[in-house]
Symmetry: none
Subunit: 200 residues, 4 copies
DNA sequence: GCATAACCGAGACGGTACGTCCTGTCTTTTA
DNA sequence: TAAAAGACAGGACGTACCGTCTCGGTTATGC
């Protein structure tokens, strides 16, 4: 049995079904532990123990620490912008705040640096993790097209670059401030530059 | 003997002096190996072996893998902008290209994700690595103040946010493209947004 | 359901009857595999797979690896001496050759050392395996009594010791020669000593 | 560093020397544990723990459980016959008792079945273990030649078969009696048969 | 000139985590 | 009920790395 990246169904099939409580217990244990000890000090044996199960059950579900932690950290993918009204400055500030909130989540914050390290040189893992954020790019493309259509944004604004700017600044800002969070002022000042960069 | 973060001189002192060729050989070996196998698969024993020396000599010089690789990767700190004339668009494009060039260096690219992981939760290491980039923030502050003074930049542009936007977008852009580099068009499109965000 | 040591019938009973072809397939697979990979490397999952069935069916029939292999190896219990005429030297040589033939069987040879190991500290298993050889002691007692009666054997020959000498020498001789077999000369020379030890 | 079968010296060499107390502690722990839990339940991690060291140190010294236990059990090789006077019956009885004493040693008794299993199919290990008993065959050859020379033994007695008979009967006798020992009567009765088999 | 201090190589040390394997049991669907 | 499939707990395996240490032996300086 090759482990599925996530514990998805694989047809009804025969055999004893996996106990879904074990899935949940492992994810919960991984989330707790990664916050407590950090990604690199996170041992899969410790996760299994806290989840009240064994390494065997864990490896049956996830092929690596990265896949497990990735799923534990991003159980709910970050949403870009929920309310899409026509206010460029407000929307960008909301996106910025959303990115800040996603990355500031304790589990994400503890897991992200390690995940980044494991992703490097593992294109497959990178792709799987990144597809979770694919929606963000899609939403941004619609938003930019809409803003241009309304005459609020310059015609040559590249939406993919915009995602990279917002996400990258948040990522780097978080890394530069171990211990502390990104406050409202930070969001304001960063969104301000981007807003002027987008507006017509 | 506590090892010095880098192999700086510590007075004449007595005793046999360190062989500087070993310093160089270790740094070279570390740079080569981190590119070949990646940060997490980099073993200090392997570095010592390729350098033709031993772990003992290595640990005498650097206290940890992170410190060693950090020094191997950033032997020359990245310069922000060399020619500082009064062209906002040109300057920002040059800074963007400079960041791109720094992060695209094979050794940096191979080492950075792992360094980020080791930095998390190690504020001391973070500080030491970050001080290498302190000059960037300083230069940016001067550049912004100058541009504002010339009436080319808006008065409320925050230079620190600007550094985070440029560096973060470059970092994230690199991470999203394992294998490929950031081309001129990428630099152009990203710098374009920032430029409009800065200009008055 | 406790499994029976061997797959004996347990009355007609209710429910679906066991498929006897599975019994045979498992025993054949166990015999083949123990020769190929040795006792300690023999996994019950592999036996089940080669037999075209599953561990469930296997464990329903035999409670442990030792019981299964024991039955696979000693499907036919070794006979002591088939023709019982009154020739001490000839009979002992025949017994010696019989022991040699039993232990030289490839399956027995591959299985025996592991079985010995599993028997140690498991008196119940030891008893079950040993009762398969109980007939040998019985036959030997008759044979010795008969030989003494005919005046061919000394009166104080202990038949149980005789069995241990013959079996033990064969066992040890086999162990000392991994790869090769015990030839006719070996049988001759060993039987010679015992014969003189028995004869009046 | 390939582990040496036994922790023999390998020249003066460089590097930190092995701590001989660790060798001793491991052997002692292995001897104790094999008696307590049996060979198959003996885990190398448990041996290391009881010895107050780690698996690493253990694997540095012995390549396998068999090699370690073999050395722990046969720290002193069994001597064949110490007093070699010219009494065939007495000498053989002494040899028999010596074999009995060797195999009855608690450590040997606990270790032997498992060792036998591991030896099977590992000719190299078999050879290494057997060479420890090579002296026995040598001594027996001298003893037989001497006895023949004195006219006490028949000329065609094969000394190697004699070793196999004595050792084999003891081995098998021990295996057939889990829990109990081989008593003086057993030695007497078995030696009696062999003595008559040898004497002229 | 010779002691001292720090270097160098080699490699063992305690410790920890890894990912795999196997055993014997249990739980499910299907026959 | 049995059969097939496969998950489950538990635990050993042998390997790899880390960062420290203990050696014997080698340079430099500095008294």
């Amino acid at each position: 049995m090759k482990p599925e990246a996530s514990s998805v169904d694989k047809g009804p099939g025969a055999g004893r079904p996996r106990d879904p409580r074990i899935d949940a217990a492992i994810l919960r244990a991984a989330a707790e532990l990664v916050v407590e000890v950090g990604y690199s000090n996170l041992s899969l044996a410790a996760v299994a123990e806290r989840a009240g199960t064994t390494k065997t059950a864990l490896y049956r579900r996830w092929p690596s620490k990265a896949e497990l932690v990735h799923e534990a950290a991003f159980a709910v993918p970050p949403s870009a912008v929920t309310a899409p009204p026509g206010d460029v400055a407000g929307d960008l500030r909301a996106m910025m705040a959303g990115a800040r909130d996603s990355f500031t989540n304790p589990v994400v914050r503890a897991a992200l640096p390690g995940l980044i390290a494991d992703m490097a040189g593992n294109a497959e893992l990178t792709a799987r993790i990144m597809e979770r954020f694919a929606g963000l790019f899609e939403v941004m493309r619609y938003w930019v097209a809409d803003s241009i259509g309304r005459g609020d944004a310059r015609a040559d604004v590249d939406p993919d670059r915009l995602v990279e700017l917002i996400g990258g600044a948040t990522l780097l800002g978080m890394m530069l401030r171990p211990g502390e969070d990104l406050d409202g002022d930070w969001v304001e000042r960063t969104a301000d530059i981007i807003t002027h960069g987008v507006m017509v």
